[in-house]
Amino acid sequence: MVFSHVVQLPEKINELKYFGNLKEKVIDSGLCSHCGTCTVICPVYGIQAGDKPIEFPDWEKECIDCGSCVKVCPRWDYKPLSGVGDYIELIAAKSKRFSGQDGGMVTEIMAAALEMEVIDASLFVDRDEEWRTKIVTIRKPKQLEKGTASGTKYSFADVMPEMRKAVFRARKGVGMVGTPCMVSGLRNIQSEVTSFRENVKLAVALFCTENFYWHQLRDFLANKEIDLRKAVKTDITKGKFIVTFEDGEEISFSVKELDEIIPSGCKFCIDFTGIESDVSVGSVGSDAGYSTVIVRSKTGKEILDFIREQGYADFGEADLTAVEKLANFKIKKNRKNLEGI
């Protein structure tokens, strides 16, 4: 019978408590990607994400100095990943069942995984009328037929904090959709913490050049007299940020204009495709109306094969070169920022 156990603690960079270490090395340095993984493990529930940099109010007093946040943070001991990564299959696809961004394949993949019972809960980033992100837990594919859970939001979302609940309550398994940094955070916490390793069965990464704080994106768009409340879709395609309105009208501008509000942490990221995902999905590399799907894991492959067998999607050829081009563009853009760390 074992009643006692010794755990090694991570090495500190200063004399402060561990959150003070995370704060100095990752948050205050601007390296933090806002993936939210630290919020998931804090035993005093003190670390908060939301539409602001990661914070822990009153951490000097409340932090119990356990070191867990540092252990799970993918940027504490940052090993940037980049490129297209290893994959089993790269293909273009369009869901026949769901409309979403491009070919609706993120929604399709999650719906199929629920049907196959690989997972019984899937975390989606939904939004309110003002496009503030909120996380919804989808348990039945039917829930995805209507509503706003499908479609890209381009704002930070509290997927990871919500995952804490999903993992604690998990029965079969949990699926998540997130940015490459969130998927890296997930993999890191999975390597450390058993409940996440055993219960999170599917991670779908979205191709990502950067993400935004919601209030900054809203204010930026408001300055251009773009009212997000009237928008039905936002998209980044071919270097343009496009907002589509209820009446079908579109307003677009160069994504370069958004450079001024790119959060600092995104500038240290060179992972465009989500190297550590089960499946990565994005627009680049496919014709309009199709999603590019990069299948990386056995689970991902089984799901895509199921979609094929059921005839849930149309397939086409994806252009690897186009994906590589964007992946390389992100490396080129941000590599210099990594040199200083």
Binding site: F3, L9, E11, I64, R169, T194, S195
Partner: protein
């Protein structure tokens, strides 16, 4: 002197803490409102039992609390005279119930232990969760030692349910 046993006496309820999930079914079942439970419900659904109070001055010994408990945490001890001497009309908290359990030899052998110690990440959620302070963390420079005192552990399993690392489980312990 003849002892008067209350009408409909089904025994004295003894809260054993064992397998208690802080669901409050006993509190809801108690008509005279003798039971008061304080639970810290976390955002992810974890529950931490902060306090458990049973007022024997208010208890009508109906036994509904034990009946409604899904985990057999409450044992009805049907020995009016002895129990009256032991508890009287006092207000019992977790600490007092733990002593009472010992006195009545109601103590079961189940204890929390590291059944998969290699999984432990040292987050100390178990320390924060334990309603009887049976778990402690001793920190030195680059290591932390988590220790469960089986003599104090009440076998509620709260640490086991809440451990994100699946490092803990029940073991049979006979001292």
């Amino acid at each position: 002197m003849e002892i008067e046993i209350p009408e409909n006496y089904n025994g004295h309820p003894v809260y054993t803490l064992e397998n208690c999930t802080s669901c409050k079914a006993c509190q809801r079942a108690c008509k005279p409102k003798a039971i008061e439970i304080e639970v810290d419900a976390k955002s992810d659904g974890r529950k931490i039992l902060k306090s458990y109070i049973l007022d024997f001055g208010k208890c009508n010994f109906c036994g509904e609390c034990a009946k409604k408990c899904p985990n057999d945490t409450i044992v009805m001890v049907e020995d009016f005279e002895r129990m009256k001497n032991l508890v009287g009309e006092e207000i019992f908290n977790i600490e007092k119930f733990m002593e009472l359990k010992k006195e009545l030899k109601l103590r079961e052998f189940e204890r929390a232990a590291f059944t998969q110690p290699e999984n432990c990440i040292g987050c100390q959620l178990c320390v924060l969760t334990c309603p009887v302070n049976a778990i402690s963390a001793l920190k030195e420079d680059t290591r932390v030692e988590i220790t469960i005192n089986p003599e104090v552990c009440g076998g509620c399993g709260e640490c086991i349910r809440n451990c994100p690392a699946f490092a803990l489980g029940f073991v049979d312990y006979e001292g």
